[in-house]
């Protein structure tokens, strides 16, 4: 049975049919999209509590009833891991929330995470019938995914996906971020003995060191990781492949397949004068200190600078995470400095909205060209160049151009540089014969995620450069499927 037939058979189940008949499409489309409760801005900037409060069961069931249960669900084509969206939503509509959670877990290793951090407006929700054909707000697929996963966790009845039988074949995963976790989950389901090697002392990659508590509580990530443990996945922290253990060591230890998901952790700096002054750091450093090392907590040994006038350079999600963190650490003036206009910002619209509500200033069409320090070497000012947008280039993107003579000097005591990341060369460099692009990404077959070394697969940011959590997870799933196929053929 192919996927299309499978979906059709699920849709043909009697309960789905009954549910469809219970309300007319007209009734369904007249319901307004749910609004998720949020903590008030004045309160939330005083702590690290999660801003989005989630849906109530009633809200979720109403929102679920908006879904028209399309015969050809376009929403699924927008989901990199192909969640059976109508099936889980219809389960919510009929109140079978634990069933909905189970459906999610068929294809997603981390639903509570994805429901929170995926840019649904660019993925599943952008393909929803409401957005595509009716010009209305999409069904809140992300909110519903989060609701189902949270409900299951809070119910204390978390289901562990069924493991067929262990086949005794050992598989190694390098890196415990979203790509590695998704891969590990699928391989465990196929019956492999999976070991995940992580360089840091915590499992989760960017989910732990990068994305802040107010957007993704670590406790939620830990529950999903524990779920993988229950499926038999083993985690080894403080172990750097290419350093502590080599690629050859993994072979000697009997690993038959290796999935490299080491991410793009190398921060870019701009190389402008004064960038090494005290108080200027990468967003990776800033967020790692606060998130992974809990530096804002007085009980933590790790320090962090708590600036009063903080500038974040960049316009992506990492920049938003950093600037909102700065507000929570007591910044009176927290600024986003971005060289294009707000329209071009890569950050999620919701994050930009939240940042604004929290009092963040947006200095768009500005680019730093120099930092000035005091006698102790601490940053005290930044010189900004005013920009304008030029004609669209070949790619259709309007590039920022400096307006001659227009500069501005602004007082700052902390600057967080968030202008992107590159793949960490540590692992690619340590494996002889591995093909790497000029950007430092590992070259793989896009379908199979297999590199030119037959037993080595790679996915996530080490293949893509800086991308999203869900794309990384999609890579992990594809790599698992193709590695499983390759190993099955061999056997």
């Amino acid at each position: 049975m192919d996927n299309k037939e499978y979906l059709a058979s699920e849709r043909a189940q009697s309960w789905r049919e009954e549910l469809r008949k219970s309300k007319s499409n007209k009734e369904r489309t007249q319901i307004k999209r749910v609004h998720m409760n949020e903590l008030a801005p004045a309160y939330r900037i005083t702590n690290k509590e999660e801003v989005n409060q989630g849906l109530t069961k009633e809200q979720a069931m109403t929102e679920a009833s908006r879904c028209l249960d399309c015969p050809t669900p376009l929403c699924m084509t927008g989901c990199p891991v192909q969640i059976n969206i109508p099936q889980f939503i219809k389960n919510i509509e009929r109140g079978e929330i634990l069933e909905a959670a189970k459906t999610l877990k068929e294809t997603s290793a981390l639903p509570a995470v994805c429901g929170r951090v995926c840019p649904q407006e660019k993925q599943c929700e952008s393909k929803c019938f409401y957005t595509q054909k009716m010009g209305k707000d999409a069904v809140a697929i992300g909110y519903l995914e989060r609701f189902a996963a949270d409900y299951e966790r809070e119910s204390g009845q978390i289901s562990v996906p069924e493991i067929k039988t262990y086949n005794g074949i050992k598989i190694a995963v390098v890196g415990s971020g979203p790509a590695g976790l998704a891969f590990a989950g699928d391989m465990a389901k196929y019956g492999y003995n999976v070991t995940v090697f992580e360089a840091l002392h915590e499992i989760g990659g960017v989910l732990k060191y990068g994305i802040p508590e107010f957007r993704l509580p670590n406790a939620i990530v830990d529950v999903e990781i524990d779920n993988l443990r229950k499926m038999g996945v083993e985690f080894i922290t403080d172990c750097i492949i290419g350093r502590t253990l080599s690629y050859d060591d993994l072979h000697e230890m009997g690993y038959k397949g290796i999935f490299v998901a080491s991410g793009a952790g190398l921060p870019r700096f701009m190389g402008i004068p004064g960038e090494n002054l005290i108080g200027i750091m990468s967003s990776n450093e800033y967020l790692t200190r606060v998130n992974l090392m809990d530096a804002a907590n007085p009980e933590s040994d790790t320090p962090v600078i708590k600036g009063k006038h903080v500038a974040i350079i960049g316009g992506g999600n990492t920049a938003m995470d950093s600037v909102r963190t700065a507000r929570r650490l007591g910044a009176e003036r927290a600024m986003i400095v971005y060289r294009r206009s707000e329209e071009e910002m890569p950050a999620r619209i919701e994050e930009i909205k939240h940042a604004k509500e929290e009092g963040v200033e947006f200095l768009t069409l500005y680019n730093p060209i120099k930092y000035i320090g005091d006698e102790k070497g601490k940053v005290k000012q930044m010189l900004l160049q005013k920009m304008e947008l030029g004609e669209p280039d070949a790619s259709g993107r309007r590039s920022p151009i400096a307006i001659p003579g227009k500069t501005e000097l602004i007082n700052v005591d902390e600057v967080v540089v968030s202008v992107g990341v590159s793949p960490n060369p540590l692992i690619p460099n340590s494996i002889k014969g591995l093909q790497v692009s000029k950007w430092g990404t590992i070259i793989v077959n896009q379908e199979t995620m297999r590199s030119d070394i037959p037993d080595l697969y790679a996915g996530g940011d080490i293949v893509r450069g800086g991308a999203t959590v869900i794309l990384a997870m999609g890579d992990g799933r594809r790599a698992a499927a193709s590695m499983h196929q390759a190993l099955s053929e061999k056997a």
Binding site: E285, M293, D294, D301, I305, G377, N424
Partner: protein, 263 residues
């Protein structure tokens, strides 16, 4: 979790810890370091591997109690565990036969100097080691250095042991006496800066092993960045050893004071 097998006080504030870490012991080379974390609320700090025993599966770390985290480590006893030890990190020392090598270290920097002295000696070099400290009690590893060097010169600020004077004086005496092909220096930034200025005067290639602030130690944050030959480098992945004559030591010292108010 890594068990402490042996603890020895070199002085009141300098402690030697032999730690169980079989994988690191197996793969480490001279010049490599580890990142350690003590306790659930502990900070990640870099420490150079002073020596290792592959058969016993141990590495040796020498820690000087200067701040909160290093004091916490020094307070651990035999049988206690260090929460996290990860490595080996950084680039190994480039070892080859060059002729005469002067290795100079100050304070706790003497410990990471030992594997480098050993390796240069093994590669067939004439090795002259200059050890420096404020006072007699702070001179460490003298015996081990003697076993691995052709000559050991000890300098103390107060003249309580060896010769009175700074490390630079000991090094300059050697330079005036014989041809030196390479100088390696590890110690406080200010010491490395003056050694570097001295050897530059005599045009002697010099390698400094830098000890900057670090967080992850794998190249993902840039906390350890410094300027070498006008370019920004990450000490944890590009180093820790650099051509001393290219290093901006003033900037490095400035950056080392980033969290001074909070320590």
């Amino acid at each position: 979790m890594n068990k402490i097998i042996e603890k020895e006080y070199f002085s009141e504030k300098v402690v030697k810890l032999v730690v169980e870490a079989p994988l690191i012991a197996r793969s480490r080379k001279a010049g490599h370091f580890v990142i350690v974390r003590a306790g659930a609320k502990g900070e990640r700090i870099p420490l150079t591997i002073a020596s290792a025993d592959k058969d016993k599966g141990t590495i040796t770390l020498v820690v000087q109690a200067v701040g909160k985290s290093s004091s916490k480590l020094c307070a651990l006893n035999e049988g206690d565990y260090i929460t996290d030890v990860v490595g080996p990190l950084g680039q190994a020392t480039h070892i080859e036969k060059v002729g005469t090598v002067v290795c100079c270290g100050g304070g706790v920097g003497v410990a990471p100097l030992l594997p480098i002295v050993e390796a240069f000696k093994k590669a067939g070099n004439r090795v002259i080691t200059v050890l420096a400290a404020r006072t007699k009690e702070l001179i460490i590893l003298e015996e081990q250095m003697k076993t691995n060097s052709d000559e050991v010169i000890v300098m103390t600020d107060d003249g309580s042991y060896g010769q009175k004077g700074l490390v630079t004086q000991g090094v300059e005496d050697v330079i005036k006496r014989e041809k030196v092909d390479l100088c390696v220096t590890i110690g406080p930034a200010i010491m490395m800066k003056f050694v570097s200025l001295l050897t530059k005067k005599y045009d002697i290639p010099t390698v400094a092993s830098l000890n900057t602030i670090m967080v992850d130690g794998t190249g993902m944050c840039g906390a350890c960045r410094i300027t070498v030959g006008g370019k920004t480098k990450f000490v944890c992945v590009d180093g820790p050893e650099f051509d001393a004559h290219q290093v901006d030591f003033d900037e490095m010292m400035m950056r080392l004071s980033s969290y001074k108010d909070m320590e």
